[in-house]
Amino acid sequence: MAAIGFFGKRLIGVAVVVISVSIFMFVLLRSIPGDPARLLAGFDAPPEVVEQIKERYGLNDPLPVQLIKYLENLFTLNLGTSVRTDSPVIVEILHRLPYTLYLSAAALFIAVAIGVPLGAYAALKKDSPIDYFVTALISVGTAMPTFWLGLMLILLFSVQLKLLPAGGAGNPSSIILPAITLSLPVMAPIAKTTRFTFLEVLKEDFVKLAVAKGLRRKTVIFKHVMKNAMVPVVTVLGLQLGNLMKGAVITETVFAWPGIGRLVVDSIFARDYPMVQGAIFVLALIYALINLAVDSLYAAIDPRIRLGGAS
C-alpha cells in the first residue's frame, strides 16, 4: 500500500512539475524578442497582413488572457494550433515523437548494452592495458562533439563503404548511425560509473566472503557485484535522459531524422509559440514519468531501498 501512496504523491509531483514548466515556458517564450506572425509573413509584408495572422492565432490578446486560455486548454489536452503549419500541435507532435522515442530507446539500449559490460570489464582488469584503453575511450566519448562523430560515421559508413544510409528515416537500417552517435555521450558516463562502483563493490567484505567460500567467479560477479553496483548506474541513467534529449536535437539534424528535437528547434526559430509550448509540455511529461520509473527501479534492484518510507 505504501507503494500506491508513493505513486499517488509522485504523480501529483509530476503534474506540478509539468504545469510549472509549461507556465515558465510560456513566459520565457514571450520575453524573448521575435514575432511569430512577422517571421511567417516576412519582413517585407505590410502590417495589415501581419495583423491578420496575429488575429488568427489569438496573439493580439493580452498576455494573461493568452496564458489562461493556454492553461485551460492544457487540461483538456488541447495544445492549440501551430502558427507555422496551421495544424493542431498535438498532431504534429504525434507525427514526430515516435521517431525520437525510437531513436532514444535504441541509443539507450546501445549505451547500456555496451557501457555496463565495458565498465565492469575494465574494473575487473583494473590497471591493465584494457582498463587504460577503456578509461581513455570514456574520456574521448565524453569529449567528442556529437555532430562531429555523426559526420565521421556518415563519411565512413555511407560515403566510403556505402553500407548504411547517411540520413532520413525511410530505411530500417537508417536508425543505426544516429543511434550509435546519440549513444556515445550517454555510454561514456555509464561505463565510467559502472567501472567506479564495480571497483568499490569489489572491495566489500561480502565479495571477499563469496570468493572465500568458493563460489564460482561468474556467480560472484553477476550475483553479488553486479547487483550491488547497479544502483549508482541507474541514477546516472536517469540523469543521462536529459542528455539524451539534448543530443537528440543535434543528432536529428545531422542525420535528417524527423524527430521532435528538430521540430522544437525549428519552431523556436519561427517563434511558433503553441508548437514550442506543446512540445516542451510533452517532453517534460515524458521526462518526469521516466524519472519516476527510474526512481522506482531502485527498489527492484536494491530491496533495502523502499518506496515511500518505512511501513
Binding site: Q52, L101, S158, V159, N171, R306
Partner: protein, 572 residues
Amino acid sequence: MKTSKRKSTYNQTGFRSLSTTSVLALVVLVAIVIAAALLFAKESPVTQTTSTQQTTIQTTSTTKPPSSTTSQKTTSMQQTTTQQATSGKTLRVGIGVDADTLDPAGQTTTTISNIIRLIAEPLFITSPNGTIVPVLADSYNVSSNGTVYTIKLKKGIKFQDGEPLNSEAVKFTLERILDPNVKVPSRGNFLLIDHVEAVDEYTVNIYLKKPFAPFLGVLTSAYIIAPNATKQLGDKIANNPAGIGTGPYMFKEWVKGDHITLVANPNYWNGTPYFSQMIFKVVPDASTREAMLLSGDLDLIIQPPPSDLASLSSRGDVKVSWTISTREMYIGINTQYGPLNDTRVRQALNYAIDKDSLIKYVLFGLGSPEDSILPPFVLGHIAVGPYQYDPQKAKQLLAQAGYPNGFSVTLITPNGRYLFDTQVAETIAQYLRDIGIQVNVRTYDWPTYVSTILAPLNKTELQLFLLGWSPSVPDPYFYTFQLFHSSQFTPNGFNNFFYNNTEADKLLELGATTTDPQLRAQIYQNLTKIVWNDAPMIFLYYQGFVVAYRSTLSNVVLFPYEMVDFASIRMG
C-alpha cells in the same frame, strides 16, 4: 508489515522477486515503450513505400553505380502503376527545409515554392533570363489606365482531379488568396486587387484599385488551383494537396520532417513528365546533404557546403552548378544616424570594402560584386558600380566630412541566416577599422534580428546592419519601393535606412504605375544612379545559388530566384 515480510523472503531466498512497487515501475516503463511502439507502427506504413526502394539502392550500390541501379529498379516497379511514356526514373532531391504547409497559397520559402510549382502552375512564370512568360495564360492585355488586366487562358487544360482550367478557377484562386480566413503570408502583394471577373470560359478580368505595373510579376506567385478539389479538401489541403493543380507532378505523400513525394501526372497538358517520381528529402545539415549525394542516396542537392565546392567539382561522379541569384547582400546604413547622415561618409564606407577578396576568401567565390541596386537579370538593371576598393579615397572622404579620425559604430548581423553572414560581417568590420572607424559587431538570432531591424525611426538602434534582400517577385518595384520610398519607413515598409530623397520618391512612384517596359526600365535606371550615389547601404554582392548533382543528370537549369527547373532535368 507486508513490505518487511516481503523483504525477508527476498533475503532468505536470494531470489529476485518482483515487489508491487517494481511491478508498478515496470508497468510505467512498458506503457511508455508500448505507446512509442504503437505510434511508430502507425507511422511505418507511410514510410514503407520508400523504404523498399531505398533498400534496393543500398544493397546493390556496392557493386554497381547507385544511380543506374535505382533507375532500373524503379523502371520495373513504376511501369505497372503509371503510364509507360515516363522514363520510369525517380529523382531524389535533398532540400534544407521542410514545408510548413503544402497549401499553394501558404508558401514562405523558395525551396518549397519550387516543389509546389510542379503540382500547381501559375498563369505566368519568370524565365531564367528574367522575362515573364505565359504558362496557363495564353495572352494578356492591360487597359490603357493600367487597372484592368485581361487574361486569356490556354484551352483544354485539366486539373489533376479532372476539373477544367477555366476563368472560374482563376477567380476562385485569387479570391481565396484575398480571403482573410485563409492563411496567406504573401497576401500583401495581392491587396491591390479590387475584384476579379470571369468574362467567359477562358477570359478573366482582374480589376486593380490603382495602376500597379509589377502586377504580372505578382501573378507568378499565384498557383491556380481547382475549385472543387480545394473545397472538398478544406483544411486538409495543407497536408494533402491531392488533385488541386494542373502541374506535371501530383502530390503523393508527405512524411513531415522526412520527405515529400510527387508522382508524374499522366494527363499533363504539356507533354508527359520525364520522371515518374520525385522525392524531396528534408536534410537540414548541408554536410549530410553532401554525404547523401556522394553515397548515392540523393541525385541532386540544393546548397551544398560552399567550402566543399572545389572538391566536389573535381570529382567525376558529381557536378556543381551555380548562378548569381536575385538575392542582394548589403550592409544597410541608418542614414539618419550621426555621422552616417553624411553622403560622403556612406560613400567612404563603400570604398573601404574589397568586395572581390570578400567573395573569394569568405564566400568561396559564391557571389558577384553588386554593380547596381537591381540584380543583373531584373528589368531596368544598369551597371553603375561597383565602388572600387580604395581605402585612400575612403579616408579622404571621411576627412572631408569632418571625421579624419573616424568614429565608432555598431554593425549587427544575423547568425546562420545567409551564407557566412557572421564571417562576412566580421570581415567588413575589419575593412572599416582599416580606414579608422571603430566597429563593434553584434550577432543576433534571426527572430530577434527581425524585430530589431523593423523598429521605427524614433526607437531604432540601427546603425549598420547586414541583410539579404530577395523579393518573392523579381520585379524592380519589389527591389526598390519598400526600401527607398520615404513613405516606407519601418514599420510601414522596409525603408530602415530612413532614406529620404524627393527625386527618388518621384521615380519610385512612377515606376510603380508605368506599364510600358521600356519606359519603366529607364525610370529604374535613373533611380539606380540616384540611390547608388546616395549610398544608403554598403553594396556588397549578389549571392550565389548552388546545386550539386550526380553526373548522371543532365539539363539542370537554375532560375536566379533560387529555384531549379526540376521538370527539365534528364537522367542517364
